[in-house]
Assembly symmetry: C2
Homo-oligomer: 336 residues x 2
DNA sequence: CCGGATTTTTACATCGTTGGCACAACGATG
DNA sequence: CATCGTTGTGCCAACGATGTAAAAATCCGG
């Protein structure tokens, strides 16, 4: 059924090794033989058995991409780009979903033995620093998005503090004074960073920190945003702007605001994070921090390539910051 | 570095085969030896080398899921479910993106040789019937979503004609008379089916077919929906309702309608297709045909299991219809 | 305590591929 | 013509796991 190199070699009248040499682009093959092998290759439609090749070469050709959930637009879009970037470098990308549970993320670190994949790109949501210390996956790891300061792992992300400060600074610039935040989280590193940026921006503008304006979101889904916003609107003095830690939260917030009969941006300005296409088409369209997802994907895959490149020199974790912009849309237009 | 069965066997003081027998649950192993091997297994943290195992067994344990693009919410959500359903049955799911190009879909059929995967679940967008005839991937194929009548391949989908008729029937029921459709496509099977359902519903209601109310969409993205809607709004007699062939088109349509200052559903009612979460949170929230995505994922994976089960009896393609509902939301509420 | 049946273990070949190495073929050089 | 360096090819082993089948250990009744 399946065509093997042996079949090709037999058809071309050469040894298996010569056929292999042609396939692998080895230089010194007699033109005559090369032609015959190539014809046989074409005639049989030969495809190398990846498993066997990897077994021999000691690599698998797979990298894992560990994300919370593909159904979340940001991760869907990111996965799409990582798959493409990986493909360009000859990798197959295997996607693992953790549903943002610490247990699943730990399991992935453990189970992704050294046999199955050559490296992993992971976007942890619930892992603690000690998890990394205690579970050694045995393959290079590149973290994207999340940031745990005391973990010695390669890391690709935007400057979350600066990004958050920029977003909130923009709200200040359009004249808002009671600026809320949605998305604080007890264990999530990025949440802490974005919250820090939020506080910095308030401080820089001389605005008071009002704890009641900061809402937690245990998951970053639309519903969580809607619930948090509903709570903010129930305050005696509701906010005149809200910075959501991702676009889904913001979309949920928009809905709660609309249900209360308030208008965006006139009554409340809204800024999101991730710049998903969904936000660009929401009503009103959503101002959002726009990480360069393509850069993140490319950089992560590139790191993987370097880490699997073999040089066993002393490991110095890389901390790479990718660019971002603030996409200003209807949800935060100035009042006049 | 990597622990092999040889290491385990040495540590347990038995032969490799005995260790293998324990790992594979072979019955006749002396309890004493079984215990020793199990201890060694635990002590070394052995993980089988999947590639080697598959090489020997002649299977790969992988199935491919071929979709246009993960960044599209419907496919992101579907992929998420297929991965989970596959995992439950012991499969690793490998995702391939085709960006809805015929070329990439053909390439996938060709390249997914029999070595890499055991089967493929494919959601074709641009493939023609003859592509299937001429390219034999050499592994079982299960189609989801798309329907090409004359292809002898397993197929899982909802009844697209009925679903479209239901959606349009609903628009008729709330009193709309000039009902447009967005999403016609020259080569896409599902588009033809949904269009047929649209026509059937109009006919059943005694409404005339107006060709100018049917717009093509070459891709099913938000932007295509927005453009098509803009054209409809430019008609001398614009529609009072529009049936979009997926939620993204509908979201784009909502935006165009809003930009023209018209209201949904008062001026124009909108119905989408796919029931993505994005649609449920859009403003107004989107009435949408809701395929049971979980059922589709489960059924497809189940078919894969049966097809790879080995019985080489005569191949009779299965045609499985999964259930759907119509989720009625704000975008198609009756006028009073 | 032996012959035979049954349970348990082991050696060996094998899956498809590639690296290492020996050797063959070749033209060029002294 | 002998020698040499350069090219090109084929043989063998190996990657890690498992199927086959034979060998070894164990058990049973007589």
């Amino acid at each position: 059924m399946a065509v093997t190199l042996r079949d090709v070699a037999r058809l071309a009248g050469v040894s298996i090794k010569t056929a292999s040499n042609v396939v692998n682009g080895y230089e010194f093959v007699k033109p005559e033989n090369r032609r015959r092998v190539e014809e046989a290759l074409a005639a049989t439609g030969y495809r190398p058995n990846i498993g066997a090749r990897n077994l021999r070469r000691g690599r698998t050709g797979f990298i894992a991409l560990v994300v919370p959930e593909l159904g979340i637009p940001y991760f869907g879009e990111l996965a799409s780009l990582v798959i493409t970037a990986g493909r360009e470098q000859g990798w197959n990308v295997l996607i693992e979903q953790t549903m943002a549970t610490r247990e699943a993320e730990r399991a992935v670190l453990t189970a992704l033995g050294p046999h199955m994949i050559d490296a992993a790109v992971i976007s942890p949501e619930a892992l603690h620093a000690e998890d990394f210390a205690e579970l050694d996956p045995g393959v290079p790891l590149v973290m994207i998005g999340e940031h745990s300061v005391d973990v010695r792992i390669d890391h690709v992300a935007i400057d979350n503090v600066l990004a958050a400060r920029t977003a909130v600074g923009h709200l200040v610039a359009i004249g808002r004074r009671r600026i809320a935040a949605i998305g604080a989280h007890p264990h999530r590193g990025t949440a802490a960073l974005r919250l820090a940026g939020y506080h910095e921006a308030l401080a820089a503008a001389g605005l008071p920190q009002r704890p009641e304006l900061v809402r937690e979101a245990l998951r970053y889904h639309r519903q969580n945003g809607a619930e948090a916003m509903a709570q903010l609107l129930a305050l005696p003095e509701p906010p005149d702007a809200v910075f959501c830690f991702n676009d889904l939260l913001a979309v949920g917030a928009l809905r709660s605001i609309a249900e209360r009969g308030l208008r965006v941006p006139e009554d409340i300005a809204v800024v999101g994070f991730d710049n998903t296409e969904e936000g660009a088409y929401s009503r009103p369209s959503l101002t959002s921090v726009a990480p360069d997802k393509l850069a993140i994907a490319r950089t992560a895959v590139d790191l993987v390539r370097r880490r699997t490149g073999g040089t066993d020199a002393e490991f110095v974790p890389e901390e790479i910051q990718t660019p971002f912009t603030l996409e200003i849309r209807e949800s935060s237009l100035p009042r006049f």
